[in-house]
């Protein structure tokens, strides 16, 4: 990919811009593949039941990571520790809340509604 910046732009910035542009393109391509893959699983009946759910969940997880990495530029090696800790803590809280809620309500379903 070539880019035409102003003549006074130092060369290092050309590299930076190329790298960052590439990041968005890679992100787009991967996201397209993963999305199409997820829909293909359902449309083409590639898998069924639990396997399909597991595969879809995995594809969604990977795609979320792709978005974080290539669109939001979160990089394990080069990012702030504060930000990373925040994300990890958020993930922990999300897991507790979502899995706890589903566990509780599922248990209720079995005990009181089924």
């Amino acid at each position: 990919m070539s880019n035409r910046g102003p003549a006074d732009t130092p060369p290092s910035e050309y590299e930076d811009e190329g790298r960052e542009r590439l990041s968005y393109v890679v992100g787009l391509v991967l996201a397209l593949l993963l999305t199409t893959g997820a829909f293909a699983v359902v449309w083409l009946d590639l898998l069924s039941g639990g396997a399909a759910l597991a595969a879809l969940g995995l594809l969604a997880l990977v795609q979320a990571v792709v978005h974080l990495r290539y669109f939001l530029h979160i990089d394990l090696a080069r990012s702030h520790r504060d930000d990373l800790l925040l994300i990890l803590f958020t993930v922990l809280i999300l897991l507790i809340m979502v899995s706890g809620t589903i566990w509780i309500l599922y248990d209720q379903h079995i005990r009181m509604m089924a």
């Binding site: 039941g49 969940g57 079995i110 005990r111 009181m112 509604m113 089924a114």
Partner: protein
């Protein structure tokens, strides 16, 4: 139990324990276990409480301004003490946790207390409770008659808002919710009248929403059932519809018979799908392994 003895003695010395409904005077194994568990936990907790009550006055006296204690303004840490103040609570939490685990699993309100329990269906209504006896074919409002020493299974639902059902001297609370069915198993080992009530606020008549639990000898219970059957009043769908409007019932009402399957119908008013066609649905996320395995046929009848 000696602990119970002590607490009982204490209770007798304080005004108020003559109250008709407290787990401090258990009349069955469940309430009794809850009472002794209360005692065990309280006793264990003294391990952290007593040292504070002993040490704090000493420290305050010794290290008050002008006291004899040496002033060490920069002292801030000691490994030995640190191990003690983390270690004792951790050990205590372990012990308490084990007691909790054991008690909770053993006294799950859904666990039947023996074979052939007497099944009573409870419908929580606005400011009264309806009790249905499928075995005897009778129904009552605000009177729960029970035989002594026979396991009882209460199945609870609500015809209105969420309520919390309790007979303190026999067992603890469980919620009754519309379209859902909860269970409470108990056993009465003493005869007598015990108070039961709703503890979840549900409007103007809440304060008065209590009922009598009358525990009788098995023979007396059988006699009671026969006598109640002879009552002329019958509870049908139309009669139930009238009960749905909020009211306070001061004297118990007895019905000689009721429309069979009434309990299921009350549930079905709020959850038709649960009764007819549940099981096809699966938890969307994550996949639910047990779905559809827990039919409860009586709910569908």
């Amino acid at each position: 139990m000696t602990l119970r003895g002590i607490v009982g003695l204490l209770a007798a010395a304080v005004p108020g324990t003559a109250s008709a409904g407290s787990f401090l005077e258990p009349a069955g194994p469940i309430a009794s276990a809850q009472f002794s568990h209360f005692g065990v936990i309280s006793a264990l907790m003294l391990i952290v409480i007593v040292p504070m009550f002993v040490a704090l006055p000493i420290v305050l006296y010794r290290y008050r301004r002008g006291g004899k204690g040496t002033y060490r303004p920069d002292w801030e840490f000691n490994w030995g003490l640190e191990v003690v103040i983390w270690g004792i609570p951790v050990a205590l939490a372990l012990a308490l946790g084990m007691a909790l685990w054991k008690h909770t699993l053993e006294y799950d309100p859904y666990r039947a207390l023996g074979p052939e329990p007497l099944v009573v269906e409870v419908v929580a209504l606005d400011w009264k409770f309806l009790f249905l006896y499928p075995e005897q074919g009778v129904a009552t409002i605000n009177l729960l008659a029970l035989p002594e020493d026979r396991p009882v299974t209460l199945r609870l639902t609500s015809g209105t808002v969420m309520q919390s059902f309790i007979i303190p001297r026999l067992a603890g609370q469980i919620y009754a919710m519309a379209g859902m069915q909860t269970q409470l198993n108990l056993l009465a080992s003493e005869t007598g009248d015990f108070i039961g009530r709703n503890t979840q606020y549900n409007g103007l008549g809440f304060a008065t929403q209590s009922f009598t639990t009358r525990v009788m000898s098995p023979d007396a219970f059988a006699g009671w059932a026969e006598a109640t059957k002879a009552q002329p009043a019958a509870l049908d769908a139309a009669g139930f519809a009238k009960l749905l409007s909020p009211s306070v019932v001061s004297e118990p009402v007895l019905y000689g018979r009721f429309t069979p399957g009434l309990f299921g119908q009350v549930m079905a008013r709020f959850a038709p799908a649960m009764v007819q066609g549940h099981g096809q649905a699966g938890m969307a996320a994550p996949p639910a392994p047990h779905q559809g395995h827990h039919h409860m046929p009586e709910a569908g009848r």
